[in-house]
Symmetry: C2
Subunit: 187 residues, 2 copies
Amino acid sequence: MSFSRPTVHPVQAPPPQAQGDANAAPFGVRMKKSQGTPGTLGGLGLRLAQASFAAASIATMASTHVFSSVSAFRYLVAAAILQCLWSLVLALVEIYAILVKRSVMNLKAAGISSVGDGITGSLTFSAACASAGVTALIGSDVEMCAGNSCARFMAAVAMAFLSWFALAPSFLFNFAFTASRLAALSR
Amino acid sequence: MSFSRPTVHPVQAPPPQAQGDANAAPFGVRMKKSQGTPGTLGGLGLRLAQASFAAASIATMASTHVFSSVSAFRYLVAAAILQCLWSLVLALVEIYAILVKRSVMNLKAAGISSVGDGITGSLTFSAACASAGVTALIGSDVEMCAGNSCARFMAAVAMAFLSWFALAPSFLFNFAFTASRLAALSR
């Protein structure tokens, strides 16, 4: 037994890494912290911005007395009501996710959100475009602005566009998440 | 040497699979055959449909004598001209790709196509929505159709929407291809 042997020093097993808590948790359970994605304060802010811009658009349009006689303006009010309700529901979901510190980013939720965002977003965008066309016709083409309160029409159209702009990041996050998960599943 | 040995039968190496020619070729060189994607007859058909619907929309709108006094209709004509030119250029690229039997699906071409499709598509869609709002106002809200040739306005709007519908698959194919390639590169 003159051969040298490697000595064995039994050491205690290192505890699982405690720092970087959110990264160590299994994927999909804890929130990731990139702002703007669903389940963060940025995502909640986007939802609230969508709902409040849509509500401002409805209020501005409803304060004019001729909106109910123009189809495009009625369509804008209907689309903005749908947008406002949808964004409020998703804002409640985000508040819940923030309070319980859980992610709402699973495949089914992101898929439903992206489909709903797509539908309400295209309705809001098309209604805003149609109302903008009518506003431009009344305001600058035939110049009947005196009794028609063009400034309010323009404000309502601008609010609808702002609501749509606030919707775009939410839709893109959800859509990209859904697409990447589906691509990973099909691989 | 009483042990048994495994016998070795030298066999000829099988030739590389010759059937499935398009699949065996290196990716990105030969055309893949799923119809509707760029570089196929379906993709060329989509491009030609976009260009012809946009041209029909321009012709129908220009045949009315009042279109130049309404901003939304002027915007529709401008957007449809841009759409027609863009689709014709890409149709020429597709014809070239079909003639030389090469794929046009590389990352840079698909990225440029999807950005251009996105820009022309949103212009066409918003112009069609604005013109639809004005057409609904003239046609059913204030009923001034007698001298205004509403049927032509409606036809022009419908052609613009059809051009946009034909654009959507091209955009989605290019966008999905670009996104999946970028995701593969960043991995």
